[in-house]
């Protein structure tokens, strides 16, 4: 199927497509600067609610940087400057009145490598909840059970909640991290290549979860794996490096972008990733 990719002239202007319906999360002219060097430039995205929005593109194009802009986690990296706007429900999240920590409670994030704290499984699940203070202490066990069930881990760990989380397999740890995020009841979950450190079976489990979760929540998924993008994403944006800066070359609904890309950069990226489906 990839053999049939149409070749388009490099000059051709990409017309960004937009998902239907009102955007839950939106970026307008988003740029990230490190000193006077831009890392990503003029990113305009509209992410609709209850969808999986995929971000693909070659390494170094700024996919993770863009992702971390969406919950202001980028601000933890010193020396970066953010320009433009990110809107959640139409309101800028970089507004001075917005509490960045509270925002991160509502927009959860899952990293490439699972990060479990050196505590018990139970303590890991309620790690966010207990500090946010929204849920009362006597409800924590119920929250933990709900979150672990939602991440399909409850049956595996219900009898050993007090064991150190580090004893779980890497795949289980990643689901534990997902449960920890879900315990906060986030509206949006950002995922930064969540399966790339996992074996195929665990990766499959996470993929199933993503498809299940999107009925409730909005997911922004960074992935290197094009078959995975095809399986999971409703909409896709492709970031490519243009003049040394990461730019969104094209956004479209998933199949359109993968089968019929209109932008030369995207065509090249997809072709380079063809042999084993990775970029």
């Amino acid at each position: 199927m990839h053999d049939a990719l149409p070749i388009v002239e490099a000059e051709k202007v990409c017309v960004p497509a937009e998902p239907e319906g009102p955007a839950l999360l939106e970026t307008r002219g988003l740029c990230v600067w490190a000193g006077n060097r831009a890392l990503i430039r003029n990113v305009n995205l509209k992410i609709a609610a209850k969808q999986v929005f995929g971000l693909i593109g070659p390494s170094g194009a700024g996919k993770s940087t863009l992702l971390k802009c969406l919950n202001r986690l980028i601000e933890l990296t010193p020396g970066l400057r953010i320009e433009g706007e990110v809107l959640l429900h139409g309101k800028s999240i970089y507004d001075r009145a917005v509490d960045a920590d509270g925002l991160r409670g509502r927009i959860g994030i899952l990293f490439q490598q699972p990060v479990v704290f050196p505590k018990s499984i139970y303590q890991n699940v309620i790690f966010g909840v207990r500090h946010l203070g929204v849920v009362k202490q006597h409800d924590w066990p119920a929250v933990a059970e709900r979150a672990l069930s939602e991440s399909a881990l409850w049956d595996e760990v219900k009898d050993r909640l007090k064991e150190p989380a580090s004893r779980l397999s890497v795949g289980q740890q990643q689901r534990l991290c997902l449960a920890r995020t879900l315990a906060n009841e986030p509206e949006v979950i950002l995922m930064d290549e969540p399966t790339s450190a996992l074996d195929p079976r665990s990766a499959g489990a996470i993929e199933e979860l993503i498809l299940r979760l999107k009925s409730q929540r909005t997911i922004v998924l960074v992935t290197h794996n094009i078959p995975q993008a095809r399986r999971l994403a409703d909409w896709l944006a492709c970031l490519c490096v243009n003049e040394g800066v990461g730019e969104v070359m094209e956004t479209a609904c998933c199949d359109k972008l993968l089968d019929n890309p209109s932008c030369q950069g995207v065509v090249e990226y997809l072709r380079a990733g063809e042999p084993e489906g990775r970029g």
Binding site: G102, V115, F117, H131
Partner: protein, 283 residues
């Protein structure tokens, strides 16, 4: 030629190590051989009699333990505050470097100057006279650089992913500090603290004008005019005027107990240090 140089360097390096270990071992042996016969249960539990020629060192042991406990209590919160300021609140760059410089300067300050500062501030200005509290505070400041640097080093190797994950869950900066940074760097704090206390236990200069007397003190009842006895000062005074062989046996005995205390503190740290190294290797 190259091999010969290599040999020479190897032998020289080995020689240095042997000399250092040899000196340490001979000091320990010299003290233990002379001191161990004097150490007994009575020596540890009886109080000083006949100007040090008889009795034991119970109140000296109590005094030294009280001094180092106070030093620990003083330096722990200060070290935590400084280490967090250094590694977490100050931006990387000049401010951090200056704070480090200040700590190294404090570390290099001769301990007798701590004693003189204590004499001026606590004994004279506060009017405490000789007090265990001034001694404890001075020793606390004396070991502050050791404790702080150890904690800073531990925080430095703390994987950034934990902080990122905690922030990603919506924790505020102070929550991250209290639930991630501090718990995971406790081993650094304890290591630095015990090493510092081992040093503090043997210090004489900071406490001789400010906190300790030779005889006549028991458990301190208050702060003002409440000196304690201590082991290093005991050794210092007895050494100055011991012609009596009975006294000299007591001096060696006291030295052995002090050495044992210091070794014990250092020994407790050992597994923790090994664990930190192991973690650093795996990271």
């Amino acid at each position: 030629m190259c091999r010969t140089t290599d040999r020479v360097v190897f032998v020289a390096a080995l020689g240095c190590a042997v000399i250092a270990c040899g000196v340490l071992l001979s000091i320990v042996a010299a003290i233990a051989i002379r001191g161990l016969p004097a150490v007994s249960w009575h020596f540890l539990t009886e109080q000083i009699r006949l100007v040090g020629a008889a009795g034991g060192i119970f109140y000296n042991l109590v005094g030294t333990l009280l001094l180092i406990a106070t030093a620990g209590a003083i330096s722990t919160p200060l070290a935590m505050g400084i280490a967090l300021t250094h590694s977490y609140y100050l931006p990387e760059g000049r401010a951090r470097r200056n704070l480090s410089l200040l700590l190294y300067a404090l570390n290099g300050t001769p301990s007798i100057l701590f004693g003189i500062a204590g004499l001026i501030i606590f004994v004279k200005y506060f009017g405490w006279g000789k007090s265990w509290l001034s001694g404890g505070i001075l020793l606390g400041f004396l070991i502050l650089p050791t404790v702080t640097v150890s904690l800073v080093e531990r925080i430095k190797v703390l994987p950034g992913k934990y902080i990122e994950a905690a922030a990603g869950l919506g924790l505020t900066r102070s929550q991250i500090v209290s639930s991630v940074v501090l718990p995971q760097s406790m081993s650094g704090l304890i290591t630095g603290l015990l090493l510092g206390l081992a040093r503090a236990a043997g210090e004489t200069a900071p406490i001789m004008f400010t906190a300790t007397i030779f005889a006549g003190a028991t458990f301190p009842a208050g702060v003002k005019e409440s000196p304690v006895l201590s082991m290093p000062y005991h050794i210092f005074i007895l050494c100055q005027d011991s012609y009596d062989p009975g006294v000299s046996a007591k001096v060696w005995g006291t030295a052995t107990v002090l050495l044992g205390l210091v070794f014990l503190l250092s020994l407790i740290v050992l597994p923790m240090r090994l664990k930190v190294h192991e973690e650093a290797k795996n990271a």
